[in-house]
Symmetry: C2
Subunit: 354 residues, 2 copies
């Protein structure tokens, strides 16, 4: 009777819920990118709470288990059960990955989330990720990024010719079409490279993260917008077989907790960037908008790179058609109420006490 009773208790404890599960999460990010890295902590904490402490996810920073760029491999090969990364890091394997994060002149944070959840984006990306043994979930967004730090002003497209700029992936390919010489340099080495003049400029994220690295001291021209990252979306990658083993309850927990981390990360950036921007300006950063001709040349180069990729990459082409139609409609709609409202807000300041 005791045995039977214990079995019954075990069954109910598992409760269809899934019993004890312990996973390791490999992040592609270092802890000092606390907003991005922190999204994995927010996620893991909620997973534990939602499972009454039965589903534990141990979050490891880049380099603790595998280097940041190895997260896809690590999840694919089951070195870890789950990862947190930016899919465009894997652009070299297949440009299609970039649709999951950001492509030049792509969608903004809200538009990307809308595409993923209600525009068919998630289905398309899940289908693509199958070949990598991954089930993907939304995992945060940075919002529209800044366009980086430059030692000299960029006044014309000519000024880009021969410019050694720290930038990678899809954006690097577009920049190369405009004459830029893209450089791949890890975050921790950018400052020194700028200081020594090994590079002429570097893009990072936005005010909150950029302030910590101190670029304003050595390359004070701070350009916007980062047209290659209108909104960079992060992702959680779950190994397909590990996912299949989960109970429906634990699958729901992954879905809900990742959605919360997704929204929370964007909110943190939106709350933290304004103060950091003010500090940067006080410290001598020179805010500059990219000239219209540079934006137009970049847009033209982007369309060329897209056409080339679509011609030779069926995965890319398949997602592009859906993505482009959705993006077009969003751009038109956001150009009305949202755009005119935000413009009025910006140009008609409402200061506390005024």
């Amino acid at each position: 009777a005791l045995a039977a009773c214990t079995a019954a208790v075990d069954k109910v404890a598992a409760g269809g819920a899934g019993g004890k599960v312990e996973w390791t999460l490999a992040s592609s990010f270092p802890k000092n990118l606390d907003t991005i890295f922190g999204a994995a902590d927010v996620f893991a904490k909620r997973v534990a709470e939602l499972s009454n402490g039965n589903f534990i996810i141990n979050v490891k920073a880049a380099g603790e288990i595998v280097p940041g760029p190895e997260v896809l491999n690590a999840v694919q090969n089951k070195t870890v059960q789950i990862g947190h990364t930016a899919s465009y890091y894997f652009f070299g394997k297949d440009a299609t990955f970039a649709f999951d994060t950001a492509v030049p002149f792509g969608m903004t944070s809200r538009q990307h989330t809308a595409w993923m959840l209600h525009g068919g984006g998630m289905e398309l990306m899940r289908d693509f990720f199958k070949q990598y043994n991954v089930v993907n979930f939304l995992g945060g967004n940075t919002g529209t990024q800044m366009g980086g730090w430059y030692k000299k002003e960029i006044k014309t497209v000519e000024d880009l010719k021969g410019l050694k700029l720290r930038i990678g992936g899809f954006a690097g390919k577009v920049m190369a079409k405009m004459g830029v010489v893209p450089q791949q340099i890890p975050g921790g080495e950018i400052y020194t490279a700028l200081e020594k003049g090994t590079i002429d400029g570097a893009e990072w994220v936005g005010p909150y993260d950029d302030e910590k690295l101190g670029f304003y001291k050595v390359a004070p021209n701070y350009y916007y917008p980062g047209w290659w990252e209108g909104g960079a979306s992060l992702s959680f990658y779950v190994n397909q077989e590990e996912y299949a083993k989960l109970s429906d309850n634990y699958k729901a927990i992954i879905a809900a907790a990742s959605m919360e981390a997704h929204t929370d990360m964007q909110a943190k950036y939106d709350a933290k960037n304004p103060g950091a921007l003010a500090n940067l300006i006080n410290n001598g950063a020179k805010l500059q908008a990219f000239p219209k001709e540079v934006m137009e040349a970049a847009f033209k180069a982007t369309k060329e790179v897209f056409a080339e990729e679509a011609a030779s990459n069926a995965n890319f082409k398949k997602i592009l058609d859906n993505w482009l139609a959705f993006r077009h409609n969003e751009a038109q709609w956001f150009g009305l109420a949202e755009k005119s409202y935000s413009e009025f807000m910006t140009t008609n300041p409402w200061k506390p006490g005024a």
Copy 2:
């Protein structure tokens, strides 16, 4: 032994998790507002999944338990355990409620979420809601709304004088300062009132909801932006004592599921509005931007109403100071990368196939 065993099973079934709980949710919305009403369904479905079917929330539309405007009372008095509503409906009790949803020239969807989650907004609103026996959670956002449908064009501030406009709450008070005669009319009666000429215009939500009511047939001038709803945030209200009874696990479930419903609703609107807008334009809606002088007069009137309210309402004043500082910083930050990027997207269309 059987009794002991059953008790053990019961305890584990509850699992620290919370056992069987069944709640009724009163929505302030009719089912035909499927995006807003639907957020409560998304929430309830996820709560059930996260609790393995043990925490059930039965969603009831406006009028099924109480009329839409009675949801606050119903939660406060425990007629229901939970409600889904727009706090600005209770503006008449205290203007402070409006900070939880939208105030004229208030924050956009992302800015409001950032304020609530990482700007101190949630703490301030929770403190305010205590006196109503309510614990509030985020419950969706519409994005910047349209400015409504008008029989005649609005070319100057003069054109607003004596205009009978279906609009309520805070916005109605601001409109009244500009000479508008605000009218309170339920959604289902607006069309007839416009058709008969009882009113000259009406504001509703945005293309997706507006299309269903057919206003374009009787008041074709479709203005933007809805400066009184730069982003209207919905809320879940949980009765304080009912909330206190929940296990930590069920509290976490409420928090995670409400955050997911919050993001999902915005994504739905963002995905559905563009197609509806195209339909409306095809059907004869005349898109119009509010003239600059009307926007400026509305902004001036808003600041006057805010000053009057702050002078006589300590609850309002307390939140206003924090809110205004946050809003100011957001408006400046969003005026850079986000604004310039969105502008470029809108003015440089990227059409599928082009």
